[in-house]
């Protein structure tokens, strides 16, 4: 499946969407996995921010990543903690490290048409994933947001995760 595959929103439609800023617009609207790179020192940092945490410069490029990644961490949430989630539990939250930027950690959800996994064993640390996107209109501006999400991928990977 290509990186621009579109998947329905994993969490309910009334669950909060991010506030879009100059720094995070590319990540949330590019429609492919996009990371922030400092124009001065060329370091990639995530989440994107107004200043570079390495050299404190404040101009950036936004670079495409392959969209292939590895599950670094996972939890299954069973208790809603908010009425908007009451009908959605259990749901998973994962941390993914992009294979081409292994020092970056991206929080998201594993999604999949026929596998909404509810057992922690179904999503294992070290499992390969591939980025897909949820398209949803910005509730304030109407701009199309593309939330990066993840599908379990069958490719072989040899990158161990400790």
């Amino acid at each position: 499946m290509s990186q621009d595959a579109v998947t329905p929103r994993y969490l309910p439609a009334d669950w909060p969407l991010p506030e879009i800023t100059a720094a995070n617009r590319a990540f949330f609207t590019a429609g492919r996995l996009t990371l922030q790179r400092c124009r001065s020192c060329a370091q990639v940092q995530h989440p994107p921010h107004d200043i570079c945490h390495h050299c404190q410069a404040d101009t950036f490029d936004y670079v495409a990543a392959s969209g292939l990644g590895t599950i670094d961490n996972v939890t299954i949430v069973h208790h809603a903690g908010d009425p908007r989630l009451a009908d959605r539990v259990p749901y998973n939250v994962v941390i993914v490290t992009p294979d081409d930027h292994p020092d970056v950690r991206i929080v998201g959800n594993v999604v999949g048409a026929d596998t909404v996994p509810v057992e922690i064993g179904a999503i294992e640390i070290g499992a390969p994933v591939r980025c897909v996107f949820t398209e949803v209109p910005d509730p304030d501006t109407g701009e199309t947001l593309t939330l990066p999400q993840w599908e379990l991928d069958q490719r072989d990977v040899a990158r161990p995760v400790s």
């Binding site: 994993y10 969490l11 669950w15 909060p16 969407l17 991010p18 506030e19 800023t21 995070n24 949330f28 940092q45 995530h46 989440p47 921010h49 945490h53 670094d72 961490n73 996972v74 939890t75 299954i76 949430v77 069973h78 208790h79 903690g81 908010d82 009425p83 989630l85 259990p90 749901y91 939250v93 941390i95 970056v104 950690r105 991206i106 929080v107 998201g108 959800n109 922690i120 640390i125 509730p139 304030d140 939330l147 400790s162």
Partner: protein, 387 residues
Amino acid sequence: MLGSTAVTGIGESRYYRAGRSPQSAAAMAATAVHAAIADASLAVDDVDGIVTYHPDQHDSAQLWSWLGLGELRFSAKAWGGGGNSGASAVQIADAAVTAGYARNVVVFRSLHQGAEGRYGRYNQTARPARGDAFLVPFGAAMPVVKNALLIKKFMHRHGITQEALADIALASYFHAQRNPRAVMYGKPLTREAYHASRWIAEPLHLYDCCQESDGACAVIVSSADQAPDLRQPPAWLLAGATGMHAGGGLWAFNDTDYPSGRLAPVGRQLWERAGIRPTDVDVAQFYENFTGSTLIAISDIGFCGPGEVEAFVSGKNLHFDGGVLPFNTSGGNIAEAYIHGLQLMVEAVRQIRGTSTSQVPGARLSLFVAGPGTPPSSAVLLSADAP
């Protein structure tokens, strides 16, 4: 710091489940602060400074005036997230008194989660910004979800099992059964009941989570010269520390040294300033918002390596009666009450005085650690012996 200050007074309101207190946060603060002043045998006008932490719902001028206190000479708030600042607030009071800016500084925390909103819930409608923009839209909104991820990764990396989490919960409930002030007094917990309890966010069960509470507590930090004339035996402040390592505050799990608790520097600073080793500590109170947080804190701060922590906490090792490291002897956030962790500081003082309901015999060195949670983290070390 070493020899310049002591905790001379402690005070508490009654502790309740969230929403059950008939008193407001201000009224409970008044109860706790005036109880601490009376406990110290100070006059109201002797107290001349105030410190708290968290975006508390009151500002210091208002609260100070409502409490009928005298001329204010020092006011500060610890800067940082949540309960991690509990010991930092005490350290700030210590620094102010040591510097001579005030003579008796009250450190307090008062919460009415019934009125303020329960800390375990999200319930926010504004679109998440900054680091939260990379967490909340994906469901990492409630504190338990973020902590579950940190704890899960720590356990995975270091081969820690669910039994270690159970040991923390069981020690907390064991001590709470001896403490009539504890909300969970009279409600003992078994290992079977722990494992049978529902998941909140894996690997955290219900009993891995701190309570949501209403209540207030306060301690008074006084200059050393007054301590001999006051009613209570002084709990000498040997050392305080607040900090984290470089890069510890980066957003959304991109902090350096993940999955640590980011409080190794707090341990190093504390042991160096106090001139002791972790093995010298007689009793410890850890801010356990979740059980696994304590496993991380125990290893971060230097009691053992992360791979050794499961053995370190197993069996009765955390019990007051003969444990290797008696832990949360009032029941802690999990089984006494969650007064944002400052009630752990009150218990640390009781251990020095010999008045805990789970008193560690002959306790001379008493530790309070606030972290990992949201950095910077903090810790203070108390001594029964004048430095």
